[in-house]
């Protein structure tokens, strides 16, 4: 909301929300005065932009020219607060990244909240503040939203769904189906940080680690990449299912194979150690601030240099290349010198990671 208060809103409620000791009540989702108060005193105040401040059911927005991109992402991460982030910032970053991977400049976000009756308003306030800070830092405002409340025991504190829109400038044609044999596969940094950070804070599995989630908005890195090399064919963020699953998705879409070099894939020492004793493979552990770029081989050096020249891509690496393969296998030359398939994730390695 802008500095100007909306019409007749400020004095609508006899008492302000108790954001210190109060809890979410069913009435907060009933659509009546309590809902309006929660929206105005918590969400509108925190997200603070003129479109939301109008309190309409929908936001009417100016759009620059170009193709419209829409992406939506629900967040059910557990725990809600984890080393290096929380569900609020994650919900902003996750959707910004989905929009950005289409080559678009993210412009606006919408947010839907499902709150559980009894959830402390103080914690909700922290989550909302974190969302607001993340949106502000990314310069992508949250312009509309929705709040529902479910009975105690029917939710798990807070679920957040965000939808983002953006615009792809002319000349950028990114597509998961565009990888071609011979293309270079690049990765913007270490893998597995987010998943290990979440695991280290799980109730039944707490272990000491300095690993933080890599949750971050990647649209500026994408802008730098596409500015330097508009011929990039595929961008994707390896979130759930990790690097392995994301590459398999692309291989299937593009009807190609891939050959990776295990020793080229960056993994932080702490992540590697945690995966070792938890029996996880970092290739399958989620990331929230990394991207895969697939580009023609002749652009590989340029893409790598651009990634490394950006704060979010210092540890970027060329990790393999696209092959002609009717089975669409993603394969890897292991550190030992052998070869293996890097398959899709099977089952649920780590539930509720994002």
């Amino acid at each position: 909301m802008s500095a100007q208060p909306g019409p007749a809103r400020a004095r609508a409620y006899a008492r302000p929300l108790d954001l210190k000791r109060g809890r979410v009540e069913l009435a907060h989702g009933a659509g009546g005065r309590a809902t309006a108060q929660l929206v105005e005193e918590l969400f509108v105040r925190a997200f603070d932009n003129p479109w939301l401040g109008r309190l309409n059911d929908a936001a009417a927005l100016p759009m620059p020219a170009g193709r419209l991109v829409v992406a939506t992402d629900s967040h059910v991460v557990s725990p809600l607060f984890f080393p290096g982030g929380d569900i609020g910032a994650l919900a902003v970053h996750g959707t910004i990244n989905d929009v950005a991977m289409a080559g678009a400049r993210p412009l606006y976000l919408a947010a839907g909240f499902i709150l559980e009756e009894g959830y402390p308003l103080a914690d909700l306030k922290r989550i909302v503040a974190s969302m607001a800070a993340a949106a502000r830092a990314a310069e992508v405002p949250i312009v509309t939203g929705d709040t529902k409340v479910v009975e105690h025991g029917k939710g798990d504190g807070v679920y957040v769904t965000t939808t983002g829109v953006g615009v792809v400038p002319a000349g950028i044609e990114l597509d998961g189906a565009a990888a071609r044999p011979g293309d270079a596969i690049l990765l913007s940094g270490t893998i597995g940080d987010h998943g290990v950070a979440i695991m280290s804070s799980r109730e039944n599995l707490e272990f000491e680690t300095g690993i933080l989630s890599d949750s971050a908005p990647l649209h500026r890195l994408v802008a730098a990449l596409l500015g330097a090399c508009p011929r990039i064919r595929v961008l994707r963020d390896p979130t759930r299912g990790g690097l392995a699953t994301t590459l398999n998705e692309i291989a299937r879409q593009s009807r190609v194979g891939m050959l990776l070099e295990e020793r080229a894939i960056p993994v932080a020492a702490g992540v590697a150690a945690a995966c070792e004793f938890l029996g996880l493979d970092p290739l399958y552990v989620a990331n929230e601030g990394k991207l895969i770029a697939i580009a023609p081989a002749q652009d590989a050096a340029l893409v790598l240099a651009t990634l490394r020249g950006h704060a979010q891509g210092r540890q970027a690496a060329l990790i393999g290349h696209v092959t002609d393969d009717p089975d669409h296998f993603v394969q890897m030359t292991t550190t030992l010198g052998g070869r293996r398939v890097v398959d899709w994730l099977t089952g649920d390695q780590l539930p509720r990671i994002c």
Binding site: F329, T335, L336, R340, V341, D343, G347
Partner: protein, 419 residues
């Protein structure tokens, strides 16, 4: 990563691979069984088959805890969870093992059963302590490695008088399984499966020691090399086995001496003996009913034995007729020789237990090795000084270098052993 990278060093692997290739007599074939799923996983995950010469072949053994769990035992757990309403706790992969009627514990969970994945037996006991109004059952599985933790938990539960906790015990014994394989007609009488030796268990041996394998070495004239689970451990063990075969020795050697001793962990053994006793017989998937091959909970702990507590009656259930898990677990068949492999049976929809855990032969091959099933694949290192180029395809080598290999299959066919 310290103490891990050292055991995954590419240069060392290459020199070990060269040493194996030099030691292997080109005039003969070597066929070794890695008993443990941990070794199966290491071999597949690191692509070790590419580092072995054409005439050294590894056969996967039955040492994968969830693979050998028969349908009937999972049925018991599902009965407890769905019909008796207990909170059932077990290790991750166990939840996906196929049971009767296309069920699994995960599917029972979706039907409303209270089923929890735990990382240790102690977690199950903690759940029981925290919810005294619930009956909590720990579905205990595994070889000698996971048995002492279950024993500890049973002892703790009895000492603390935790009345709502019990264990459905499925702990099995490695030596009994090895004996069963060596006694099987295919290996002993018919000779259809030739085993020249065993890569012996890593973690299991840290508990039981190397002494129990001496019988196999002496009685059956099979070399055993106890090896760690790291890829260099496996390669070194294979080299030691090749040398034993060449020299006509059949001894127990210990490659994993940084962890394993001849006597094993006496304290753990005493603990297990205090809580468990031998079962007269136990059904294994693949091996059938094997006498004295598993543990039951002693009568002193009867109150914590789910089989007694809920008066469970075991009913054996046959595997799907087309499923070849049985033959695969005994080393008689390879995963690709099963009609269901990769079609009806995949890691997402396992029909047989070998497709469940990444330590299972089928899942390991499906997830890591199925590119080898193609005829045009070349892989691995050019490191075989004895055999012609056709039998040892180098990286990027010929798609159809059949001349030396005999059947025109490149790297894939290198692991074929002529009948």
């Amino acid at each position: 990563m310290k103490y891990v990278d050292e055991f995954r060093d590419g240069e060392l692997a290459r020199s070990l691979a060269l040493a194996i290739a030099r030691a292997a007599d080109p005039a003969r074939h070597y066929q070794f069984m890695e008993f443990c799923g941990g070794h199966t996983h290491a071999i597949s995950r690191h692509g070790l088959a590419d580092l072995l010469p054409a005439n050294v072949r590894m056969v996967h053994g039955p040492g994968c805890p969830v693979c050998v769990l028969p349908i009937g035992r999972i049925d018991l757990a599902i009965e407890l969870a769905l019909e008796r309403g207990v909170t059932l706790c077990s290790y991750g992969d166990t939840l996906r093992v196929p049971a009767s009627g296309g069920r699994s514990l995960l599917k029972a969970k979706a039907e409303g059963a209270d089923i929890r994945m735990v990382y240790s037996a102690a977690d199950a006991l903690r759940i029981a302590r925290e919810s005294p109004a619930r009956e909590v059952v720990f579905l205990a599985i595994g070889f000698e490695t996971t048995t002492p933790p279950t024993a500890l938990v049973l002892r703790a539960a009895r000492a603390a008088g935790i009345a709502n906790f019990s264990v459905l015990c499925n702990h099995v014994l490695t030596p009994a399984a090895i004996a069963s394989i060596l006694e099987s007609p295919e290996v002993r009488a018919l000779g259809t499966v030739r085993l020249d030796g065993f890569v012996g268990p890593a973690h299991v041996s840290s508990v039981i020691g190397t002494e129990p394998y001496e019988f196999f070495a002496q009685e059956y004239r099979k070399p055993v090399v106890v090896a760690g689970f790291e890829p260099l451990d496996v390669l070194q063990a294979i080299l030691m086995l090749v040398r034993q075969v060449n020299e006509g020795r059949a001894e127990v050697e210990n490659q994993f001496s940084r962890v394993v001793s001849r006597d094993g962990n006496r304290k753990a053994q005493a603990l297990v003996a205090e809580v468990f006793e031998l079962r007269r017989e136990f059904e294994w998937r693949g091996l059938g009913t094997v006498p004295y091959s598993a543990l039951a909970i002693r009568s002193e702990y009867a109150a914590f034995d789910a089989e007694r507590r809920y008066d469970l009656g075991y009913r054996a259930v046959a595997d799907n007729k087309a499923c070849e898990c049985g033959a695969i677990l005994r080393g008689l068949k390879r995963p690709t020789e099963c009609k269901l492999f990769g079609t009806a049976c995949t890691p997402e929809t396992p029909m047989g237990s070998c497709m469940v855990s990444s330590e299972g032969a089928c899942a390991a091959h499906y997830s890591y090795g199925r590119f080898r099933d193609r005829r045009d694949v070349a892989g691995g290192l050019d490191l075989d000084p004895h055999v012609g180029a056709g039998a040892s395809a180098g990286l990027g080598a010929e798609p159809d270098a059949g001349a030396g290999a005999g059947d025109g299959g490149g790297a894939l066919r290198r692991i074929e052993v002529p009948a």
